[in-house]
Amino acid sequence: MNWHAEISEKDMTLLCDYLDDALSIKDRAKFEKRLQQSPELKLALEDMTALKRSMRSLPCKPVPHQFTLTRSEAEKARRGRFLLPTFGWASVVSMMLLAVIFGSEFIFSSFSAPQIVDEPIAMTLQNDAAPESALRQAEDEAGQPVYLLNWVSVGGKGGGGGVAYGIGGGMAGTYAEDIAMSEPVPSEDIAMTEPIPSEENVMIEPMESEEIVESTEVASTLAGEKITVEPLIFGLREDQLGQVIDVQPDENEVLTVVTAQDIVEPEKEPLIATNIKWILAGLAAAFSLVWLLLKFRR
């Protein structure tokens, strides 16, 4: 009778446990009860018992020779005792160091925040460094005069530009005084310099307070023409309002155009010198090679 298909692997394991006396008393009693009920299990036990007995009865092979060590063999074995593990560990340690170095460099370069530059990029537009050729080139490419923005001195650094009337706004709180042209341009060509009727100014509309000084602020165009604008923001000190901000572009100043490509990020220095990396890689390779040689020589 073939019991192999009838008995599950779990039952077979239980059977082996029973055969090798590895079951607890309780489990043994339970299994014996099952044995009486299942003829397949009984047959399997019979076969397994026979197999075990046969295996145990295998004759003991006599040794072909003594396996004892002579003095020279022992000396030779002792010599190689530390070499293999030493080189093995050395290669592992150097490889791990390399991995740590490369890993940390990768992490720093990939996930670190961009470096904060002390001087805002706008400041680079100021006085120096940009050749006039860049301006000419930009004009050629655009096919029309290029308007340059000079952020000098008015409105401070930072701020948003646009029709920024606010304190420290990028365009200096006026329409056009800071808009410098590469060439003198009639004021009417500059849309921003056209006098804007105060009633058109959206910002003035919601004014309710009677304390707001009316029509006191004066700005100027490039041509020196002064325009009057309304105070725009509540909270301005009165003495600040109405100041004439008369900024003419400095003719001696060289206006510059700085493009994104021109802004060269300073080259980051690697955390670990390249020489050290090469030395570590070389050491790791050498240790591994010696370890492999020793291993295969054995």
Partner: protein
């Protein structure tokens, strides 16, 4: 009762002697080490032979195990010396089997001495013995060894250690470095495969295999 006490004291004496030999061997006494080798070499060689199924390979593996044991003596942390040594022996067998797989030693002679190509060279023949051939030698040992060799390495090691060497599950688990559950399942599958394999021989030798006589049982003990 007296007999049991004498037996116990003999076993204790043997353990103490072994412990002393180990201590001396760890201290560098080669004679003590060789005495340990002499005590266990038979068992080691037999386990290696059943795993390798080849006398020369088993001898190589045992010698390697002895050298390895000498190197690792200072890492021995007590417990059963026999199972520690068996662990080294099984590892040496694994290494030897790997080496054999890398460099098979089958002689290739596809040509005669005259340089003519042999149509069916000797090395193409299947030399593994069939059931009839094995039984022709009328040795149940050959049949068992034949089936044992056909087992996967991991099953062969477990069944050899449990059924041939007589180790318990816990010791085998320590030797091969796996949990006891793995040992149990591997043993169950190994026995099942062995039994299936031996069925081919059993038809010819039903009583001899299935109903082992009491004499055989005594012999096994």
């Amino acid at each position: 009762m007296k007999c049991c006490l004498v037996g116990l004291s003999l076993a204790q004496k043997a353990i103490m002697e072994e412990t002393e030999l180990i201590t001396r061997a760890v201290d560098g006494d080669l004679d003590a080490f060789n005495q340990l080798v002499l005590q266990h070499q038979q068992m080691a060689y037999n386990v290696a032979y059943r795993i390798m199924a080849d006398e020369n390979a088993a001898a190589d593996a045992t010698q390697e195990a002895v050298i390895s044991m000498y190197r690792k003596l200072d890492t021995y942390r007590g417990g059963s010396f026999k199972s520690w040594f068996l662990r080294i022996v099984t590892n040496a067998c694994y290494d030897e089997l790997r080496r054999q797989r890398r460099r098979p030693t089958i002689p290739i002679e596809p040509e005669t001495n005259e340089g003519e190509l042999i149509e069916s060279p000797e090395w193409l023949e299947d030399k593994s013995a069939g059931p009839e051939e094995v039984l022709g030698a009328s040795e149940i040992e050959n049949a068992i060894q034949h089936c044992l060799t056909g087992l996967e390495q991991k099953f062969r090691v477990v069944i050899t250690l449990v059924d041939v060497s007589g180790e318990d599950y816990e010791t085998v688990a320590r030797i091969i470095g796996t949990p006891i559950g793995t040992v149990k399942s591997r043993l169950a599958r190994a026995r099942m495969k062995m039994q299936q394999c031996l069925q081919g021989f059993r038809e010819l030798l039903p009583d001899q295999f299935r109903h082992i006589t009491e004499e055989n049982d005594e012999l096994a003990r």
